[in-house]
């Protein structure tokens, strides 16, 4: 291998899917010992490109060279053989398996016919020590934190001898502290001679760790620049294709009466483990309360409790003076509570229903949609037509299935439906997850507009930036408990991060 040849060279890669060119003649080089960031919006084609490098897809045109030699990567096996490892955004871990089992899967050390678990665990321990990962080889995946799970993902690639590591949006689910630790790990990996491609849409990370950045937009390479010679604004403009403001414009809130009040709410899951732990907070009309926290600290359960999908064991949940704890979802919905669910495919839409049917998913039983037990399709269609217009939901027709819409338009349809209910309380869970910048702006503006109309808005998000920019007040949730309430102007990422990791409590109500 000649020293000058790049570790990976992609030449004019093109990949088409029905109706879309996901990668349009993309070229990219990765030098040895480099952290090369791949920047682009959701849907820009980053993941497709990396799936090609990892052998999950085949390019329609173009070629790949590894260490100067042309290769054809037709399966993950081939990629692994070539020393390529991928740390997936959605962890590919088998929950009931142990750390060791997950790492050795597919390349198990054997003693006779049996798996040699002892030497496997030893190997895992050694790798963990070498890179300072501190992973317990015998722990089961469902018992360890998200940050730890990610390290298991990294170790899977190292165990297979990967020299080229692809990190796909690795920080999406981490706390700021965990992100710092990950950055340190990445630096150690590079110091040990590995090369890294970092896929992300977060500019902060790119600026702090990468050597070079390649920006792609709509499947095309816009530019490749040295990180030291650029700045976040330039990168953002290249990524989105226009000027972007990071600050969300909003007026000062006009806070009114308490709309939602939780007091000492406790709930246990099926295994008897406490998921909501003496949880209390309130949301007033005209304000957005952001719930910050790491995934899995009770956010989903909190929303389920408020919307009637989960029974609580004690405590009270009051909406506009009325106790709603343990009422049915229908009853709560009728108290003018709207809900944008975190998983729009699973909970927000019936994908095989038409757009029109989805628009009345919660109100179908009411007049005028229901006429003596029969569906009044004329009125339903007219209503859908109006909402599609008002919220700019792009669909060929209201009679197309929700499945045929893009992610952004599906989310717009849900928001249209929920806002149309004229709620007094709007609950938005992860409302911008997986959306591109344009759609994110739209969603956030809608939330602020609702707040300006005097509605109470409860925003749950794992994106710290979103919490900081959109909320008027922030409550931090950790292990099913509110560990602090702060105003965005009085805090910063580091402090929130500490609270999110359970390391700091800022007692009482914000501002007291």
């Amino acid at each position: 291998m000649s020293a000058a040849a790049p570790v990976v060279e992609l030449k004019q890669i093109t990949k088409r899917f029905p109706g879309i060119v996901a990668n349009d003649s993309i070229s990219l080089t990765l030098e040895k010992g480099e952290i090369h960031a791949l920047l682009g919006e959701n849907g820009a084609g980053k993941s497709t490109l990396m799936n090609i490098v990892f052998g999950l897809y085949q390019p329609d045109e173009g070629s790949i060279e590894i260490g100067g030699k042309p290769v054809i990567i037709d399966s993950p096996n081939k990629a692994i053989e070539l020393g390529i490892g991928m740390v997936h955004q959605h962890f590919k871990l088998v929950d009931p398996f142990t750390v060791t089992e997950n790492i050795i899967l597919g390349m198990e050390p054997k003693k006779g016919l049996k798996i040699d678990y002892k030497s496997a665990a030893e190997q895992v321990r050694k790798l963990s020590e070498l890179y300072g990962l501190q992973v317990n080889p015998h722990a089961r995946i469902h018992d360890i934190s998200v940050g730890m799970q990610q390290r298991v993902e990294i170790m899977k690639t190292l165990y297979r001898g990967a020299d080229i590591l692809i990190f796909d949006e690795p920080t999406a689910v981490l706390t700021p502290q965990e992100i710092n630790e990950l950055m340190a790990i990445m630096k150690r990996l590079v110091a040990e001679g590995k090369s890294i491609i970092l896929i992300t849409h977060k500019l902060k990370e790119i600026m702090s760790i990468s050597d070079r950045v390649t920006i792609i937009r709509r499947g095309k390479v816009i530019d490749t620049v040295k990180t030291s010679e650029t700045n976040p604004n330039e990168l953002a403009e290249k990524m989105v294709g226009r000027d972007v403001t990071f600050k969300v414009d909003k007026l000062d809130p006009h806070v009114g009466n308490t709309v939602l009040k939780l007091d000492g709410v406790n709930s246990k899951n099926k295994e008897g483990i406490s998921v909501l732990n003496n949880l209390s907070f309130e949301v007033k009309s005209g304000e957005i309360l952001g719930i910050a926290g790491v995934d899995g600290n009770g956010q989903s359960e909190l929303i389920q409790a408020i919307t009637g999908l989960r029974k609580i064991d004690s405590g009270s949940i009051i909406v506009e003076g009325k106790e709603i704890a343990n009422l049915s979802p229908r009853k709560i919905s009728e108290m003018n509570v709207s809900h944008i669910p975190e998983d729009r495919h699973k909970h927000g839409l019936v994908l095989d229903f038409t757009v029109s049917e989805n628009m009345v998913l919660e109100t179908y039983y009411k007049s005028p949609y229901n006429r003596n037990g029969f569906m009044n399709n004329e009125v339903i269609d007219k209503h859908a037509e109006e909402l599609v217009q008002a919220f700019d939901v792009r669909t060929p027709s209201i009679h197309n299935t929700a499945r045929s819409l893009s992610g952004g338009n599906q989310q717009k349809a849900i928001i249209a439906r929920e806002i149309d209910k004229e709620p007094t309380l709007l609950i938005a869970a992860q409302p911008t997850r997986g959306l591109d910048v344009g759609a994110i702006e739209f969603v956030q503006k809608q939330l602020i507009a609702q707040r300006d109309q005097g509605k109470a808005v409860l925003l749950v998000s794992f994106e710290l930036d979103e919490i900081m920019n959109v909320s008027d007040r922030i409550a931090v949730i950790y292990e099913g408990q509110i560990v602090g309430e702060v105003y965005p102007k009085d805090t910063n990422d580091q402090e929130l991060g500490l609270m999110m990791a359970g390391g700091l409590k800022r007692g009482g109500k914000a501002g007291e």
């Binding site: 999950l56 692994i80 590919k92 997950n102 899967l105």
Partner: protein, 319 residues
């Protein structure tokens, strides 16, 4: 008859009834642990029962009397695998709904076995009677009172079934093959990205289930009925599925459940020996295994321990 002798006999009958269920339930475990629902166990047992009857008959006819039942078992394994392949092609390669494609197996088995019986035996409704297996007394152990005649005077297939429970357990939880099979049923895309061929593992799982269900069916013709007719397999495959679920997809658990169901069937034969049972209509005694199955499922924990990816065809584009 004294109680102890009765108990020993009941134990023995329990094992006879359980054997077929054990084989089929183990087969179900292979398929479902790999992520493929196998409601076609019933049909696969039918294929096996048929193949054993026909293969055994021709072997006996050709003068291999002693080996005939074993040749029957081999035929059952082969035909079971072929039957399972239909399920595999439809549900794995062509991503058909697994429940529907399993139902197809049940249909094809019912149709084709009887069609072939009529074709091979000049329009007869069942295969000619064959000798089948004989019970084998384990030396010394069979002398133990109650347990001896109960456990150690059984058909060779029963011993094989018990050994297989251990083998399957070892295979699933101690070997690379088992780790991969379980991974494919829990999180196929995780396995895929580590170079484990998801569809190949699933094909193997389904084919093993066909093989084992085939043996299960064979044990019924070779130890109980001696022939294959339209009612030789009537519901055992479904009870095997229940045993697998009740046993939480674990070979040891499924073994326990299969013995339990075998026992509830054995009760039916023995309860009539007691005077008081005359007052109970025979239909209610027949119902026992089925009612027990429902009661058992009501008291067992739902599907919480089912493989996570059970029933979902693997679509790499969604990873």
């Amino acid at each position: 008859m004294d109680v102890l002798t009765l108990l020993g006999q009941m134990l023995n009958t329990t094992l006879v009834f359980s054997t077929a269920l054990i084989f089929a339930a183990l087969g179900g475990i292979f398929s479902e642990r790999s992520g493929v629902v196998n409601i076609g166990l019933e049909g696969l047992m039918m294929f096996g029962a048929f193949a054993a009857a026909v293969g055994g008959y021709y072997a006996q006819d050709a003068g291999y009397a002693g080996m005939a039942p074993w040749i029957g078992v081999l035929c059952a394994m082969a035909v079971g695998i072929i039957g399972a392949l239909i399920h595999a092609v439809a549900s794995i390669t062509f991503k058909a709904d697994q429940t529907i494609s399993g139902t197809v197996i049940n249909f094809l088995a019912a149709g084709s076995t009887l069609y072939l019986v009529k074709l091979l035996f000049e329009g007869a409704g069942e295969t000619p009677l064959i000798d089948g297996f004989y019970k084998y007394k384990v030396p010394l152990l069979s002398e133990i009172p109650v347990l001896g005649p109960g456990l150690f005077n059984s058909y060779p297939t029963t011993y094989l079934a018990v050994i297989l429970v251990i083998v399957v357990y070892y295979l699933l939880f101690k070997t690379p093959f088992g780790l991969r099979l379980r991974a494919v049923g829990e999180h196929p895309s995780a396995a895929d990205t580590l170079g484990v061929n998801v569809n190949r593992m699933r094909y193997i799982g389904v084919m093993l289930s066909g093989m084992l269900a085939g043996i299960g069916g064979a044990t019924i013709t070779l130890t109980t009925t001696g022939t294959f007719a339209h009612n030789t397999i009537s519901g055992q495959g479904f009870i095997a599925i229940a045993a697998m679920i009740f046993g939480k997809w674990n070979p040891l658990g499924a073994f326990g459940a299969a013995v339990f169901f075998g026992f509830s069937q054995a009760i039916r034969n023995y309860v009539q020996q007691f005077g008081w049972s005359q007052d109970i209509p025979q239909e209610f005694i027949y119902m026992i295994p089925y009612v027990l199955t429902i009661i058992v499922l009501v008291s067992a924990v739902g599907r919480s321990s089912a493989p996570s990816a059970l029933g979902q065809p693997y679509d790499p584009s969604k990873r």
